[in-house]
């Protein structure tokens, strides 16, 4: 903990408002992909598990770290794959107007 207590609290507060703001304008049709997408974003825990495992010194710590990395990688990769698959399917009725475009 080198980030000072209050700085951490400020980051915490601002991030919380950001999260709240981002979601508040999402149409219901995107709720499932969005839940899946936010599920993907907390897959960043992978970075944390890598650091934790990287500091491990005993076999027990290494074992826990190893399992944690597997779980975190599953969270990140799985979250991405299913979100992408869902979003890929959303189309408008004005299809094929612009091929390869995002619209």
């Amino acid at each position: 903990m080198t980030i000072e207590g209050f700085i951490a609290l400020y980051i915490f507060m601002l991030a919380a408002f950001t999260g709240y703001e981002i979601i508040s304008k999402v149409p219901v049709i995107l709720h499932t992909p969005l839940m899946s997408g936010s599920n993907f974003v907390h897959g960043i825990v992978l970075v944390g598990t890598m650091v934790a495992l990287g500091q491990a010194t005993t076999p027990l710590e290494q074992a826990i770290g190893f399992v944690a990395v597997i779980l975190a990688a599953g969270n990140a990769v799985g979250g991405y794959v299913v979100t992408e698959r869902m979003l890929e399917m959303f189309k408008t009725s004005k299809k094929d107007d612009k091929k390869g475009d995002n619209a």
Partner: protein, 462 residues
Amino acid sequence: MSLIINLAYFAAAVLFIVGLKQMSSPTTARPGIMWAGVGMVLATVVTFVHPEVSGRVNYTLIVLGIVIGGGLAWWSGKKVAMTDMPQMIALYNGMGGGAAAGIGAIYLLQASPESVTNTGLAIATTGSLIGSVAFSGSLVAYAKLQGLMKKTFHFPGQQVANIAIFAITVILGFMLATGGGEIGSATLLLFFILSLAFGILMTLPIGGADMPVVISLYNALTGLAVGLKGIVLDNPALMIAGIVVGAAGTLLTQLMAKAMNRPISNILFSQFGGGGGGAEEAIEGTMKEVQANDAGIMMAFAEKVIIVPGYGMAVAQAQHKVWEFTQLLQKRGVDVKFAIHPVAGRMPGHMNVLLAEAGVPYDIIFDLDEINEEFKTADVAMVIGANDVVNPVARTNPDSPIYGMPILNADQAHNVICVKRGKGSGFSGIENHLFYADNNQMLYGDGQKVAAELVASVKALG
């Protein structure tokens, strides 16, 4: 070197926020998840040169773990059917919670009086508790939705037992947090066992219908746990991404609970769908049956048709045929719209995904608020695989368990056709009064077969 790492984490945090923001509109959602993906890869890659990561064995284990975990998730994510999406999200989410708990376990194992502060210990302990609960709870949610665990689980004094376990866990956590780094491994082990047990016990009594809200809640909890681990590990990317998800997930949970007209506390601490609850009103009228051919012709000559799809349609894999039928009607000049109840499917937005999979464009799909007034002007409302979400007792009978739940006013259309597998009540076990209404006709049969017959009947018209 640390500058590069910090820059990469900063960029990842920005990309996550931008990505989530873009996911709030269907046109930009796909690039949104891709940007978030870029952020994830960036953050992961630079972590390999993180100064605190060392040891050849550790590096090997990291790479091996990513390959195993990532590979399995890639394979399962590509394979899973769209109908099974909610439990898959629960599973991946649980894995994240478990990972956060694992970080906490290592931190607490390594803690020594010189290296830690009580604040650090308290945050690590809290994060571990939340992560463990999200982990075991999500696994139970997964098992329930996957059909591995059919029954809800009750025993006398369950709530008291849950509270007791939670209280003991908190006391152990308090001991860990104030121990100044002198942590007994027995205390630590018991703390994690009880945390996991609490997650299981809390989720067991919750019925399948409420699972989406629970999954969403655990998603928010995992986010929070990850954010707390970010503080412990001094990693702003973890902090920001975790807390953003924690807050967004909390709001999403509230929105879902609101759509189902069920306070979150009610979902978590009471049991739904067990007994019928309240006196059933006597039902007036009789059920009338209609043949697919007649129903198809009726819709072919209508001006406006609203289709109300439910999870039953997706289970029958009928959405492709329904879309084919819709296109035939559109060619004849019929105005066809889809009306989606917030809890159609297994979580808000799930039905939209299932329709999108069949190729239905999202601009003819409407939410409850957008379309409810239009039922009055519709010639035909076709309800396929849905039940409780069109049951008028939610408006009329205060004794009904679903009273007050917003419903789609399909009963106000001039004619209603309910496609249903057989006679019987819906998910909640409540009789649907719409089936007995004068303007309603029942079309019995498997969703896919009925839809195919409807297609044939319109094609026969030429």
